[in-house]
């Protein structure tokens, strides 16, 4: 069967056995959502590729220890969140400096407004507790469903929903025009 049509656990098994392209397919399948989650979590596009790459490398390193339970995506995001939290806590890297240095931004007025909105949202996300930020970023940037989020965070689905609704309201308060 073509690799693209195989489930995650089968791909992990084949990657473990050394089947060519199996791990590549997992990377292709999940790289964009990992990049989006990492970028939004940190408020910086510049660091996202590094974090996503480190996540895949860490997962690759632990392939033999992965237990196939149909939750590879949740497992992957759990590793990514750990990377994000470490980066978030790290005092060694000035994210603000990085944001100022990103080239993918222009001086166009429209973009300045858009950028300001994005920054406001970034500030608001930073104002959330880690628990609330985890849920909202996984849901909207990673596009994970409640079950995947629950597996990622090892909490009940009801808790995921409650945190999501609380996070949204908190965000609304934080970005509300003053």
């Amino acid at each position: 069967m073509r690799l693209q049509r195989q489930c995650d656990d089968d791909l992990v098994r084949q990657a473990r056995e050394g089947v060519d392209g199996a791990f590549d397919e997992l990377v292709r399948r999940y790289q964009v959502e990992l990049l989006r989650v990492a970028a939004r979590y940190l408020g910086s596009n510049a660091l996202a590729p590094d974090l996503a790459q480190n996540t895949f490398l860490q997962v690759y390193g632990a392939l033999d220890r992965y237990e196939a339970r149909g939750a590879f995506r949740a497992y992957l995001h759990r590793v990514l969140l750990n990377q994000c939290r470490m980066a978030h806590r790290s005092a060694q890297i000035s994210l603000r400096a990085l944001q100022h240095s990103e080239f993918g931004r222009s001086s166009d007025d429209l973009h300045i407004l858009e950028r300001e909105k994005q920054r406001e949202l970034e500030r608001a996300l930073n104002g959330l507790s880690q628990k609330l930020r985890d849920v909202v970023v996984l849901r909207y940037c990673g596009d994970l469903d409640y079950e995947d989020i629950a597996q990622t965070l090892a909490v009940p689905i009801g808790t995921v929903k409650r945190r999501l609704f609380d996070a949204m309201e908190k965000l609304r308060e934080l970005v509300e025009p003053r």
């Binding site: 590729p49 033999d64 929903k161 949204m168």
Partner: protein, 295 residues
């Protein structure tokens, strides 16, 4: 029937309603609320806007491919698969002091190293940076990020079009248009960061194009640019415009402790276009990026 009271549950009700996560009675309560209260309608619109902004973020990653860099790092032995028979916890138990120390080092390295790990958009070649020094390995801490500015966005020499969307430089990938511009930023971290940088390219005919420093007049011999130590993603403001012939283009980012001169480097390359610059400049890092200039 469960009755939803507004009070402190109102915000959660609206967020749940937006997500479609309400039962019949809650939906009815939310709709009543929205019909009666302009504040509630405004709140719902704000929530909708936030959700849209979050969902729409990160579209620029659609074309990013991390696979080449991941494969390169696996090939280079940057990661070793840990077998089930001896997991991390087992090793920790067996040699607690050493393992805790190693874990601390690894954590510190990850925290410090987030900004220098090679970009995901680059080709495999980008990660063949070499270093003459073994420890600390400066190649892990120094590197450049290259960006391409598509030619069609040029307008009277400015980086914007009169009516169209503002240009968005994108990570340099496998191809470069003949009139595209180039931008660079650099990262220079680690315990012994380097002091100087040269960025230049060798085109398909073997000609050397100088980006940083600029080399515009014969009879001059500019030297490396000084770079900030302990800094990540520092932009080099100058936009590079050059005419490259079609074919492969090899970009070198040569980090060094001492300032190098353009003529000295050109001399090495003239003698041997494949010269190992790291061997010629002890302690240096030569990061190599390859791309292809389209006809």
């Amino acid at each position: 029937m469960k009755t939803i009271r507004w009070g402190k549950w109102r915000p959660r009700l609206l967020a749940a309603y937006l997500e479609g996560e309400v039962g019949t009675s809650e939906a009815a309560a939310a709709e009543r609320l929205l019909a009666e209260s302009s504040d509630a309608r405004e709140e719902l619109e704000q929530l909708r806007g936030i959700r849209a902004a979050l969902s729409n973020s990160g579209r620029e990653f659609a074309d990013v491919d991390l696979l080449p860099s991941i494969k390169a790092r696996i090939r280079d032995g940057a990661v070793v698969r840990v077998g089930r028979s001896e997991g991390f916890l087992e090793r920790l138990w067996r040699r607690p002091a050493a393992a805790v120390f190693a874990a601390g080092l690894a954590t510190a390295a990850v925290c410090l190293g987030l900004a220098f790990v090679p970009r995901g958009h680059a080709t495999d070649e980008e990660f063949r940076a070499k270093s003459a020094s073994l420890a600390p390995n400066p190649a892990r801490w120094a590197g450049v990020q290259a960006y391409r500015v598509a030619a069609q966005v040029w307008f009277h020499g400015y980086l914007r079009a009169p009516d169209g969307p503002a240009p968005q430089p994108t990570a340099l990938g496998e191809a470069l248009g003949p009139d595209d511009g180039l931008l660079f930023s650099y990262t220079n971290l680690g315990s012994a960061p380097l002091a100087n940088l040269m960025i230049f390219a060798v085109d398909s005919s073997g000609e050397v194009h100088w980006f940083h420093p600029a080399y515009e007049r014969e009879g001059t011999d500019p030297s490396s640019i000084s770079i900030q130590k302990g800094a990540a993603q520092v932009p080099l403001a100058e936009l590079i415009q050059d005419k490259f012939p079609a074919g492969p283009l090899t970009i070198h980012a040569l980090f060094s402790h001492r300032a190098l001169h353009v003529l000295e480097v050109e001399g090495w390359l003239k003698r041997d276009p494949r010269a190992n610059l790291v061997e010629l400049v002890p302690g240096s890092v030569d990061q190599i990026l390859t791309t292809r200039v389209e006809p």
